[in-house]
């Protein structure tokens, strides 16, 4: 039996759902509401001491870290293969998944907060803002307030936006050469990248590719028409969140455009 501990807003959990869907595997959903803090429940901490989603449990065997889960499912259920056959293409695939873990993942949280999620804090009014800022050690409070107020123009957020833009540029270069990120077929590179591109799409920032990256645009259209895109990704977005992210994203777009130009 395959059990997946996951949540609808987590990019990493989305990766695990996509690969399970691409393999056509049945799995039991164990929903961990990370917005309510369920990842800190003692039973979950036993499975995942870092209190993050996803966690995959396969016949009692626990697998953590979405990138490792991807490789695991492909090893355990080889058909259809989601790793390229050639050793060189596997290198390309693993460089992509490593860059996700080390570059894009940290950038995603910062960008999402700067463009959209900080508004949820602001909407709660001055007293709540004050409490939120003072919830960290005194030395960090000025930075926390600055991030809350400056949005995408905060230096860290601007830097994260540029990380994203560089990554998209590198995708465009690769997709000009090969139809998929690691060669001639859909691979774990796609599985990993899709949730991060979808995040930008939900934030109404698709101009980052539609305006200047034709190969990436065409690739994204192909990805979105795969049946698994709906069943593994869109189905799990919490109601109302997409509209909210789109609204704030549209407001931020002119600033984002100025940052990456």
């Amino acid at each position: 039996m395959l059990e997946l501990y996951h949540h609808g807003t987590s990019v990493c959990a989305a990766k695990a759902r996509i690969i399970l869907a691409e393999k056509g595997l049945d799995w039991v959903s164990r929903y961990v509401d990370i917005l309510k803090g369920e990842q800190f429940a003692p039973d979950y901490l036993k499975l995942n001491p870092k209190h993050v989603v996803p966690t995959l449990v396969h016949d009692g065997n626990v697998v953590r870290e979405s990138t490792v889960i991807g490789e695991y499912i492909d090893d355990a259920f080889p058909d259809p293969p989601l790793k390229p056959d050639a050793a060189l293409d596997r290198v390309t695939m693993r460089i992509w998944t490593k860059r996700l873990d080390e570059e894009l993942h940290p950038a995603t949280g910062i960008v999402t907060y700067a463009i959209s999620h900080r508004h949820a804090v602001i909407a709660n009014g001055p007293a709540a803002i004050k409490a939120w800022v003072e919830n960290v050690p005194p030395a960090e409070q000025a930075r926390r307030r600055q991030r809350l107020e400056a949005g995408i123009e905060d230096p860290d957020a601007t830097a994260a936006m540029r990380v994203y833009d560089t990554f998209l540029g590198d995708m465009e270069t690769q997709l000009a050469r090969t139809p998929w990120l690691a060669g001639n077929r859909f691979s774990l590179a796609e599985v990993g990248v899709i949730p991060y591109i979808n995040r930008l799409d939900m934030l109404a920032l698709s101009g980052l590719w539609t305006e200047k990256r034709p190969h990436l645009s065409e690739w994204w259209q192909r990805v979105k028409t795969r049946p698994t895109f709906g069943t593994a990704l869109l189905k799990y977005v919490p109601p109302g969140l997409g509209e909210l992210m789109g609204k704030y994203g549209k407001e931020a777009w002119p600033k984002v455009k100025a940052i990456v130009q």
């Binding site: 870290e65 490792v68 695991y72 090893d75 355990a76 060189l88 290198v91 460089i95 490593k98 873990d101």
Partner: protein, 258 residues
């Protein structure tokens, strides 16, 4: 033909040399002097845009990132496999190698620089690095110069102690990190234990006997002797020894061994 761009004391390069030695593969070694900035030369940046070692070149295939290089070596040269046969074993192996990329590599950098390596940077080298990487590098370097008083030092050294403890727990199930078979996980961790050894922090092993025995087994392998021990840089060792011994009383306190 295989060509490896590497450095004698770089943990990432050591990982790949050890893998090549376990595979019994011949290669041409090109040593890079990192303190002289060899890795920033334009020809090397074409191979490795981040300007780091190692880089493996296999005819026209260029592979960067040590964890990816070692997976490549095992994919491209399947003789003497270094991955477990079963998916669960492979997942375990990759969980271990990922710990290094996520936090152990950075912690090792902070610890090694704070204690020993910052002494090797001349004012000229520092000025050049600041020119290349911006003023933020000077601020970071100023912290590293504070040694064990670097505010980032306690978390980094605790991470390395946790590594030793986690390994000890895993080694309950067999002689190697993934059980009965030596894998890319063991290869990846050998340089990190070696670094603790060079800094004279092997007191970390006192309560972690299984990790101690693992390290002993590792050091007795022919691959370790040729790929690591025979290439230790004699200019680095006395500095690490001296500065590490000085730091040890504070290190012990940070990790709760005092």
């Amino acid at each position: 033909m295989l060509v490896l761009y590497h450095n004698d004391m770089s943990v990432c390069a050591q990982k790949v040399r050890l893998c090549l030695a376990e595979k019994g593969l011949a290669y041409e070694a090109r040593h890079m002097n990192l303190r002289a900035g060899d890795q920033q030369q334009p020809d090397y940046l074409k191979l490795n845009p981040k300007g780091v070692v190692p880089t493996l070149v296999d005819d026209d295939i260029v592979v960067t990132e040590s964890v990816v290089i070692n997976e490549y070596i095992d994919d491209a040269f399947p003789r003497h496999p270094l991955k477990p046969n079963d998916p669960a074993g492979r997942a375990k192996m990759r969980w271990w190698t990922k710990q290094i990329d996520d936090s152990i590599f950075a912690a090792t950098g902070t610890v090694s620089m704070s204690i020993a390596f910052h002494h090797q940077y001349t004012p000229e080298v520092l000025a050049e690095l600041v020119r290349q990487r911006g003023e933020a590098y000077r601020r970071r370097f100023n912290l590293l110069q504070q040694g064990v008083n670097n505010p980032n030092f306690p978390d980094a050294i605790k991470r390395l102690y946790k590594m030793v403890v986690d390994m000890n727990a895993a080694l309950e199930h067999g002689p190697w990190l993934c059980g009965e078979m030596l894998t890319l996980a063991d290869i990846a961790f050998a340089p990190y234990l070696t670094r603790l050894d060079h800094l004279k922090f092997l007191g970390f092993l006192d309560k972690n006997a299984r990790t101690a025995h693992w390290y002993e087994r590792m050091r007795n392998r022919a691959s370790y002797r040729t790929a690591l021990a025979a290439q230790f840089n004699p200019k680095y060792l006395p500095l690490m020894d001296e500065k590490g011994r000085e730091a040890w009383p504070r290190v012990k306190e940070f990790v709760g061994l005092a």
